[in-house]
């Protein structure tokens, strides 16, 4: 993975010193609350319902075991010994003290980490596929490009005070979009053209929040050397022309929609004419330098399906289930990608205790070259596990609470921290996740239902991506009472779509019943091969709606 040199290190060190000074001035009343606010946000620090919340960047999801150990240590020393992995490959600490944050940032800087631009109206952490670099069918490894974007976006002098937040995600394979790129402000799909040159399909104007939209293509093939000048052009148009009068209409999606993609493209091109080919054009030497950080680890020459694996698969249904659900095909024979799920019943989705973080770090050292990934679906990934060591990993993962074999199933929910922590939330979301986990605890049934994305957000800001869940649950406030609106038909992959609201919202205790009714409609309508989303797309919303609101006899 990327390693800082003296330049990268000096920059984060200077940032820590700057924030230490800003915090000191704030605490001395030399910096007003209002002036401090965007400064702390650009260092990942929110002030939440009960305490500050610090969001630490895990750039494009890559984490070394040492970094994860530092996160465990920080969460133990400065917080309540746990953290929350978010959908955008960040780690959130819910209980740090504001005056400790400069020290926390200094600890992070020692292991080449930071909280730069994880919040605020600026370019946020760039995200990508958690399987980047280890799957067979990607065009190229997207991580060098993510690092290029990370550096370009870090302290970009022109774009630190945009109309609203700005999120970029990168995908490099046709077979799946695990980074929800089409609901980002900019989604980049790495492509090769007929000449074999590498470039990007550029999608702009996706986003969730109050007005969810799937992005539209602005450029079918952008040569890779032009990436940064093109991004500069898009964001320069947005910075000057995006709405600033209403925060709910300030994302780039609103500008793109208002102008139409043709006009927006025209304006971007008019800007780009001046930038293309200039100094920010990326030379081959820089691509090569960045690629040099993402070389393959020392894989051994192994065969697929070693006897120790096949015999265990035959004798242990539990192992077979975990293998089928929580592991994924690796590009190298004899290896497998393992997801350590953070979806154990009784634990908030995406949460990990400090002990669990340390255990995951140890597993990475023992079985996966000392590296981990954080996924959009709020799980951890060991990307390079030998197939003949999968049984050992499974045993250890079970013990640490990482082996709930439900990856991609109904109970592998995305869930925001909700009203238990977040000041913005209208309703709690964690108890909903808990209720669903408790109700749908029969693994055979969950397997029979197959792949279903269920996403929960505690408010319209949609941190839990409810719009793009096959089933989405949104907390709403009705006269001071917490209610939940259910939508169906959303998707976040290459077939991205925004879900449709079923109808009036439900009380908290009704949610599991409603989900059950939706599942019943699916099961009675599906054909053999159909996933939930396929059945929905074929039969439409009506039967689901009728079932959900049918009066009991």
């Amino acid at each position: 993975m990327y390693q800082y040199d003296a330049i990268d290190q000096q920059l984060v060190d200077e940032r820590v010193a700057q924030f230490r000074d800003q915090t000191r001035r704030y605490l001395n009343d030399e910096l007003s609350e209002q002036d401090f606010l965007p400064l702390r946000l650009q260092n990942g620090l929110y002030v939440q319902r009960y305490a500050p919340m610090l969001r630490i960047a895990i750039p494009y999801g890559m984490l070394s075991s040492d970094q994860l150990r530092t996160l465990a240590d920080i969460s133990r020393r400065y917080d309540r010994a746990y953290g929350h992995f978010s959908t955008r490959q960040n780690l959130q600490l819910n209980w740090p003290k504001l005056e400790d944050v400069p020290d926390i940032l200094a600890e992070l800087a020692k292991v080449q980490m930071h909280a730069v631009q994880t919040s605020g109206n600026c370019i946020r952490n760039t995200t990508t596929d958690q399987y980047a670099g280890v799957i067979a069918d990607e065009v190229v490894d997207p991580r060098p490009y993510c690092e290029l974007i990370r550096q370009w976006s870090t302290f970009h002098p022109e774009f630190a005070f945009l109309p609203r937040k700005f999120k970029i995600a990168v995908n490099a394979t046709e077979s799946a979009d695990r980074a929800a790129t089409q609901v980002h402000d900019i989604g980049l799909h790495i492509k090769k053209n007929e000449a074999g040159d590498i470039g990007f399909k550029v999608i702009v104007g996706g986003g969730l929040g109050r007005t969810p939209m799937v992005g539209v293509t602005i450029n079918e093939f952008l040569p890779r050397e032009d990436l940064l000048t093109y991004l500069d052009a898009i964001i320069r148009v947005y910075n000057q022309q995006g709405r600033r009068d209403n925060k709910y209409k300030a994302r780039i999606k609103i500008l793109v929609k208002a102008l139409g993609i043709e006009e927006f493209r025209k304006r971007v091109d008019a800007e780009w004419v001046h930038l293309r080919g200039k100094e920010s054009t990326v030379p081959m030497s820089e691509f090569e330098r960045l690629q040099g950080f993402f070389t393959e680890p020392a894989y051994q020459a192994l065969e697929n399906n070693p006897a120790s694996l096949t015999s265990k698969l035959a004798e242990s249904a539990g192992f077979a289930r975990w293998y089928e659900r929580n592991t994924f095909e690796h590009k190298k024979p004899g290896y497998r990608i393992v997801t350590l799920t953070l979806k154990k019943a009784g634990q908030a989705p995406g949460d990990a205790t400090s002990d669990q973080m340390e255990k995951a770090a140890t597993l990475a050292d023992q079985f996966s070259f000392g590296e981990l990934r954080v996924s959009h679906e709020q799980n951890l990934v060991l990307s390079d596990v030998r197939q003949d060591q999968l049984v050992d990993v499974w045993e250890a993962a079970k013990e640490a609470g990482f082996a709930t074999p439900t990856l991609g199933l109904l109970t592998d929910m995305i869930c925001c921290p909700g009203g238990d922590f977040c000041a913005l939330a209208n309703a709690k979301s964690i108890p909903i996740a808990e209720q669903i986990q408790q109700t749908f605890d029969n693994l055979d049934y969950l397997y029979d239902l197959g792949n279903i994305d269920l996403n929960i957000s505690g408010c319209m800001n949609a941190c839990g991506h409810h719009h793009v869940g096959n089933i989405g649950i949104l907390g709403v406030d009705k006269k001071g009472q917490e209610f939940y609106q259910v939508s169906i038909g959303g998707a976040s992959g290459h077939d991205a779509s925004i879900g449709k609201i079923l109808g009036p919202s439900f009380a908290q205790e009704e949610i599991s019943d409603v989900i059950q009714k939706l599942m019943d409609v699916y099961v009675s309508n599906r054909t053999d091969e159909e996933r939930f989303i396929d059945t929905y797309r074929r039969v439409g919303i009506t039967p689901f709606k009728e079932a959900a609101y049918a009066k009991a006899n």
Binding site: D5, Q10, R15, D35, Q151, F155, H156, A160, N239, R244
Partner: protein, 158 residues
């Protein structure tokens, strides 16, 4: 005499930021860009013009900017970042070499970024201690991106 920070020093402010379009312009006025554009044939010599957020710099494309000692850019709120693009375009696209002065509600903690996009004059509100602001008058010693002062990104200098 009111003061401002210019080129890293606290100096006398020789010009008047004329915020309305009604008053008569003098050789020391910084007048609204819209007023200057409308009256350019009759207005006579002025110290410079100022651009409000939302106006952009396109209408200056064919204007001889060397006649202005200063071009001001107003920040209606410090989180309104349009002025960052305006300054950069004035320097990089329109080739303006004179003073670009930040006006309005910008804050001292933004100086690092403001310097990088081409501002070199900072007219703070009266409540701001300019000595303290001067302590923040610097950028990080390293930058990944090119900017007005160093157009080459770090990858061309690494």
């Amino acid at each position: 005499m009111p003061k401002l920070i210019k080129n890293g020093e606290i100096v006398d402010n020789l010009y008047t930021w004329q915020q309305d379009s009604e008053s008569a312009a003098t050789e020391t006025s910084i007048v609204p860009m819209s007023k200057w554009l409308a009256e350019q044939n009759t207005i006579g010599p002025v110290a410079g013009i100022w651009i409000d957020a939302g106006e952009g710099v396109e209408s200056l494309t064919d204007i001889d900017l060397t006649q202005f000692a200063v071009i001001g850019i107003n920040f209606p709120a410090f989180v309104d970042g349009r002025g960052f693009s305006y300054a950069r375009l004035l320097r990089e696209r329109l080739g303006y070499k004179g003073e670009i002065r930040a006006l309005g509600s910008f804050i001292a903690d933004q100086l690092g970024y403001l310097l990088r996009v081409g501002f070199n004059g900072f007219q703070f509100g009266e409540e701001v201690d300019l000595e303290k602001a001067l302590a923040l008058h610097k950028s990080f010693s390293i930058a990944y991106q090119g900017d007005v002062n160093e157009p080459r990104p770090m990858f061309l200098r690494r």
